[in-house]
């Protein structure tokens, strides 16, 4: 049996006797006999480290690790620089908790302050929080932030990620608030439909940029009508695209959110990921979660602290805007290391290269008989194709250890990142061609 209890049997007895007890059962005298578990748990016997390692590796081996992944839809297979794996694994970063005690947590606090700055730089916003759980919860929290007593209706683009829509819906179900889906036209949020939906009850409009189909929304043009209606404009952005794309701030957003996974986090069957949230100074005190601020210590030296805590659950309890306590600090640290390793040029290269590869793949696939691009509009690194024999194509690719695009709405949603070479893309095209021949 494995155990991490260091005390020897003698020491345990010594401690028990010191507190005047005879047995472990005495420690639980407040537990009524009727519910005391007087049988062993139905779990296997404990194992040594070596056996655990073998058992868990056997599980991992039952998964298929593809050589090439051409599937995105919210989880993006970018290259993770080696250093990005090592730094967050350092034991102090790894095993500390929320930096409540600033005097022995300056390292964590400063890393969060740096992360906040980087998110502000990417989004063009004034203030970022220390992270929330993921992109979907960031969107849901942003929608909650925008509500006030009179305005309780959230409009969500139908071209947003289905999990994001469903998460916002769930949070709204919690607070008994209404959401409405803005119809999609030609793969994008329909601006005319949006205008017609902008009633005085609308608190916020959520649009994803680029959207679930990979298309760039006419996001900037929608800002004015949203603001004229007195609502807040929330943009959910891909952080890699932000390396080259106009900032949400410049597109007129009041709150910028997104899934930070592409910034150095593995796809890992869905998590842990990273929700980023940033806004303007005006809305700073409504932002949920931890925020690190700069101050000075009693000797006047620069110091960092958890700040603006009057917003949070441990102070405001049922009046807090959000219940968030633990967040995704280590993932935020990872994103910080990723951005430092890539730098502004590297990030731009990832964005440009991903976009270029996706366009190349799209161009080559649409040359094949019967393959059509469903929405012919500017896109980033994802695109939806209508293609015959979709199942056969995906299984032919699978046999070559390639994960093809995601079957969605009768088509296939493809994604390419900087990781895939032209040679591999040519192979993919050849395989698809073979199936269609």
């Amino acid at each position: 049996m494995g155990s991490y209890v260091p005390s020897t049997q003698e020491q345990r007895l010594e401690m028990l006797h010191a507190i005047g007890l005879k047995s472990f059962r005495d420690l639980y005298k407040d537990v009524p006999q009727s519910m005391y578990l007087d049988r062993p748990l139905d779990l296997p016997e404990g194992k040594s480290e070596l056996e655990v390692s073998q058992a868990v590796q056997a599980m991992a081996r039952k998964n298929k690790v593809y050589d090439t992944i051409l599937r995105g839809a919210g989880a993006y297979d970018h290259y993770i620089p080696s250093i990005v794996k090592y730094i967050p694994a350092k034991e102090e970063f790894l095993t500390a908790y929320t930096p409540y005690q600033a005097e022995i947590s300056q390292g964590v606090l400063q890393s969060i302050f740096e992360y906040q700055t980087e998110i502000c730089e990417l989004t063009g916003m004034d203030v970022s929080n220390a992270s929330v759980y993921d992109g979907a919860t960031a969107a849901a929290e942003a929608c909650a932030m925008a509500r006030d007593r009179k305005r309780r209706l959230t409009l969500i683009s139908g071209a947003a990620h289905p999990d994001v829509i469903n998460t916002i819906r769930t949070y709204a179900y919690g607070t008994n608030d209404e959401i409405k889906i803005i119809p999609v036209k030609d793969g994008k949020t329909d601006p005319d439909a949006l205008k017609a939906m902008l009633t005085p009850e609308v608190s916020a409009v959520y649009v994803q940029q680029p959207n679930f189909f990979g298309l760039f929304e006419d996001a900037e043009a929608m800002a004015a009508p949203v603001h004229e209606a007195g609502a807040l404009y929330i943009l959910g952005c891909n952080p890699i695209a932000l390396g080259i794309m106009k900032t949400p701030k410049d597109m007129g957003a009041d709150i910028a959110v997104g899934e930070g996974q592409p910034l150095g986090l593995p796809i890992a069957f869905g998590g842990p990921y990273l929700g980023f949230m940033a806004t303007t100074t005006k809305h700073m005190r409504k932002l949920p979660g931890r925020i690190v601020g700069e101050t000075t210590d009693d000797a006047g030296n620069r110091a960092y602290v958890l700040s603006l805590q009057a917003r949070e659950q441990h102070i405001r309890r049922e009046k807090a805007g959000s219940n968030i306590c633990s967040n995704e600090a280590l993932c935020a640290l990872t994103a910080g290391v990723y951005l430092a390793a890539m730098g502004p040029e590297g990030l731009k290269e990832v964005a440009e290269s991903s976009m270029a590869k996706a366009h190349y793949l799209c161009r080559e696939l649409t040359k094949l008989p019967g393959v059509k691009l469903r929405y012919d509009a500017p896109f980033f690194h994802e695109f939806l194709l209508d293609m015959p024999k979709a199942d056969e194509i995906l299984s032919a690719l699978d046999k070559k250890n390639i994960l093809g695009g995601l079957p969605f709405d009768g088509g296939i949603l493809w994604c390419a990142t900087e990781k895939v070479s032209k040679q591999t893309l040519d192979e993919v095209v050849a395989i698809v061609k073979g199936v269609l021949a």
Binding site: V5, M59, T117, E121, H161, D163, G243, G271, D298, N323
Partner: protein, 467 residues
Amino acid sequence: MKLIFEKSVPGRRCAILPACDVEKVELPAELKRDAAPLLPEMSETDVSRHYTELNQHVHGVNCGFYPLGSCTMKYNPRIDEEMAALPGFTGIHPLAPQAAVEGCEEVIATARKYLCEITGMADMTFQPAAGAHGEFTGVLLIKQYHDSRNDTKRTKIIVPDSAHGTNPATAAMCGYQVVNIPSAPDGCVDLEALKSVLGDDTAGLMLTNPNTVGIFDENILEITRLVHEAGGLCYYDGANLNAVMGVVRPGDMGFDCVHLNLHKTFATPHGGGGPGAGAVGCKSFLAPFLPHSALMEEPGHIQVRGFRGNFLVVVRALAYLLTLGREGVPEAAQNAVLNANYLMHRIKGTFAPAFDRICMHEFVLDLSEYKKATGVSALDVAKSLIDYGMHPPTMYFPLIVHEALMLEPTETESKETLDWAADVFRALYELGYKDPAFMHAAPHNAQIGRPDEVKAARTPIVRYTKA
């Protein structure tokens, strides 16, 4: 320490990616960024040294004693990290076909089976990303249950005044009115107070047992019975499960749903504030209401985040459960309780326990008398501990104890560490009478002195701006 931006050198960079081997595509002009983001420009050496410097100014569980009450800062086994870093897990796309993810499914199914057994629940979701997120999910189960029965008059959630702030905040996020009930003098639920607020408007009760003062509420069966009798459901905040896992199960206490903090009880690391995982278990009648991913799973369910949760955290917890096994789980709980009682016993005679009786995995010291006598506050003592290389306990929580310090040693600390910690507390106790001014000014040997929090809040500087 310099900020990363202050170390940046224009034009410096790491060599990570090859040149793009396909034709470049231009973004339409109206979509282009005006200016590049101000990100650090560094060599790999710079990056490595910068973060190593930061890491040297962090107190982790690996550095020393970390008795942060309510947070279960137990040792985080390295094998669990190694398992979570296996490419067979990290490289798996959440939307890969079923046949390609059988290993992930096995991890989830196995962890679910073990954790359902430990909690006495029938089903479990791993979608919630932390404890508070699990609370949100659990209370939404309660809400859906009442809604499914068209029982719309149930608008209130009862929360004891000793509860963690996330409990009332969660109830509010679920659209409920929060009814705070006072605790009895022993810190447990006041049955009369509970009875007086129960009614046909009660949606449910949120409770942690052992409670936030570290006492097992012996009336628990009566409490859950009363709530059920009124038509409400009972939610178990699993933050304190470390005291009782393998000994007594929330399901057998009468709870209908629970969240577990895998990052506390099941030894997954806290990561400087996350990621955690807030697995939510429930009895079978609530299982139809569990959250699903709209894209990965069957539609028509609630959903609290994307995909299926912090999977790699579940891998770590499973490795831990496989290690401990059927004997190791209760062994951990018993030793957590033993260590807390032993430490409390060793401190007794100096700082006073708020409740002088057998505790569970943690206990609260009440420094209000001491403060009256010496002028030294719980904060001063906490800050003084830093100079001894000890992470301070949780301060000023729960709110029902004034000048509270809450200590949770966990089972992974040795008797030697506990004896040392008790000696430190004794020494500080005496120092408060001799030299209170020294303690008001603590810490003396940390990287920084006490920060000015008022200034931080009044004139917020929340990002670096280039001078």
